[in-house]
């Protein structure tokens, strides 16, 4: 008996498009960031700025939140390559629904993000202590990253359904990553010295809500703002997924080379 179509597509997504080097780089980069950047900046950044935490302990939740970008990018790229190499059309000519293909991409994103979360926590826990996370905290982290991943996957898939140039897709994707990462609280907190304009922009960035919520989950300091953060991410996930569905329903399946 064969697996349901969605799961067959997930297996195919992993087997066909994720080469080992890409996986190592995608997970290795944030892990190295924790190990190197965290260690080096811990001696420079005053703990007063990071709520009494070492910079590494501040950074680890940020890198965990970053996994939602990693997952989203993997999914967006997977879709783009499928479209570029006509595999989308080939798959749709088989016994699959568009919804299943999209579902397969979202599941791939979630799996990728969650594996990333696991790796970041393995790398980060020695710096922040093994007892840092409660069960509720773990669930909050998974929910936050999951919702964020769906949002970013939806965003990039939608982009992939509209663009017909590889250059345009990868340029926009890189810019988006840069923008989202550096205009968020992944690397630095919003303090009284943060320029108002930047602080405002930070709060238009879903990664800020994810990083703040995960940071609070790590430190057992839940507050209403975190619930709002999860609500924002949930809404954005729905919007991103809806946009991807719209993109799928309206895109031209034909070759784009």
């Amino acid at each position: 008996m064969s697996l349901p179509p969605v799961l067959r597509l997930v297996v195919r997504n992993f087997a066909s498009n994720l080469d080992p080097l890409t996986i190592v780089i995608r997970f290795g980069q944030p892990a190295i960031t924790i190990a190197v950047l965290g260690t080096m900046f811990s001696g420079i950044v005053a703990s007063a700025l990071t709520d009494g935490l070492s910079y590494t302990a501040f950074l680890v939740p940020g890198m965990v939140a970053f996994q939602m970008i990693t997952g989203g990018v993997v999914s967006g790229n997977l879709f783009w390559l499928d479209r570029r190499w006509s595999m989308t059309e080939q798959i749709f000519s088989g016994p699959f629904l568009r919804a299943e293909y999209l579902g397969g991409l979202v599941l791939t994103t979630l799996l990728f993000s969650l594996v990333g979360v696991g790796i970041m926590m393995l790398v980060g826990l020695p710096f922040i202590g093994v007892s840092a996370l409660s069960a509720v905290g773990v669930l909050t982290v998974l929910l936050t990253v999951g919702l964020g991943s769906i949002f970013f996957a939806g965003l990039l898939i939608t982009l992939g359904t509209r663009l017909r140039s590889a250059n345009a897709y990868f340029t926009i994707q890189s810019f988006l990553q840069l923008f989202v990462i550096f205009l968020s609280t992944v690397y630095y907190p919003i303090t009284s010295t943060t320029p108002k304009v930047l602080a405002t922009i930070f709060y238009f960035n879903p990664l800020t809500y994810a990083a703040n919520t995960i940071r609070d989950a790590f430190n057992g300091r839940f507050c209403a703002a975190d619930l709002i953060g999860i609500g924002v991410l949930g809404t954005l996930a729905a919007v991103g997924f809806g946009a991807a569905i719209w993109g799928f329903r309206t895109m031209d399946l034909g070759p784009i080379q």
């Binding site: 195919r12 066909s16 498009n17 390559l81 059309e89 080939q90 000519s93 088989g94």
Partner: protein
């Protein structure tokens, strides 16, 4: 054939990619079980759009199509599970040829053991043994095309759509693949085969649909198309004795009444003493008349040959009929082929 044998039936099928701009229109055709239907047309004629419509990749703008008993407007996964499609564009996964085959079979839910055996068959049949551990982009264009056809044959199907599957293939590979498709059709597989390569359609297809600028110009067997649209062809008759000038003039006059034109020997050519040549539409229908004429004049025909009708000639004839300025050159569309086939040897009764 019974109506149960019909696997595709379209009525006035059409697709407009923009308001009023049809890629294909008024397409009415049928495909029977075990039949190979060729869709023949120039680039952009509407062949790929037809394949995409019939495989539910595009929704029709007008008309109907019933494929394997299902209306393509309502059919989805259940229908596509019974089809195989080799798209015109290259579609590749970034793993080795061998892995690609097994992964595609997995995607289609083919049991692992069957997939393994089938992959070996396909690797052998499509001469991919040397490429088994290479990734598709490391293959030549022809190898990639062979691989793509091989991959589609990893799963079971009732209708196979092949959109220009032999582009870039060498003659041996092409013949091998066409022979395999012919065997599969004999086994009951129905095939829709698009091509713009005439002799390939002639060699493989039971019937050919000629599509031009989104319209179906003709649908028939290759022989019938050649017969109907092959244009004027040259007939050469060699009498055992040379014709006197009177007899020659009489022959020219008589054959002229049948719409044929006696041809003067080409400058520099060295015709045989009893040789006469004429050009006529439906030339083969004049052969019995010519032998009767010879009998009536106590002449013996040593040899009679008729220029071979080609599908290319018929195709160009049809296209020429529809396009001003693209009409075939004087002398008929088949003149380029210039092949003389001996149809009768020795004297006629």
């Amino acid at each position: 054939m019974t109506s149960n044998d019909v696997v595709i039936e379209t009525r006035d099928l059409g697709y407009a990619y923009a308001a009023g701009r049809f890629a294909i229109r008024h397409l009415s055709l049928s495909l029977h079980r075990g039949e190979i239907l060729g869709l023949l047309g120039r680039n952009g004629a509407g062949k790929t759009t037809t394949v995409r419509l019939l495989t539910t990749l595009l929704p029709p703008s007008e008309g109907t199509a019933i494929v394997l008993g299902q209306d393509i407007r309502a059919a989805g996964r259940a229908l596509r599970a019974r089809l195989g499609v080799v798209l015109q564009s290259e579609s590749l996964d970034f793993v080795t040829v061998e892995k690609n085959l097994s992964l595609y079979a997995f995607l289609w839910g083919v049991p692992r053991e069957i997939a393994k055996t089938r992959a070996e068959e396909m690797i052998e049949l499509f001469e991919l043994e040397h490429a088994r551990r290479r990734k598709p982009w490391a293959l030549s264009g022809g190898e990639r095309r062979r691989f793509q056809v091989a991959r589609e044959l990893m799963h079971d199907m009732e209708i196979l759509f092949l959109d220009e599957p032999t582009v870039g293939l060498d003659a041996i590979s092409r013949r091998r693949i066409l022979a395999y498709l012919r065997r599969r059709a004999k086994g009951g597989l129905s095939i829709v085969f698009t091509t713009h390569i005439m002799h390939e359609a002639d060699m493989l297809c039971d019937r050919i649909a000629v599509v031009h600028k989104g319209k179906l110009l003709a649908l028939s067997t290759a022989d019938e198309l050649k017969h109907q649209h092959g244009g004027a062809r040259e007939v050469t008759i060699i009498f055992s004795t040379p014709l006197t000038s009177n007899l020659r003039a009489e022959f020219a006059s008589a054959i002229g009444q049948h719409g044929a034109v006696l041809l003067a020997p080409e400058p520099g050519s060295d015709p045989l003493p009893g040789q006469v040549s004429f050009r006529a539409e439906r030339a083969e229908e004049l052969l019995p008349w010519a032998s009767h004429w010879a009998q009536a004049h106590a002449l013996e025909i040593e040899r009679m040959a008729i220029e071979e009708a080609t599908l290319e000639g018929a195709f160009l004839g049809m296209i020429g009929e529809t396009e001003e300025g693209e009409a075939p050159e004087p002398g008929g569309p088949t003149s380029a082929a210039g092949v003389l086939t001996r149809v009768s040897g020795g004297g006629l009764p």
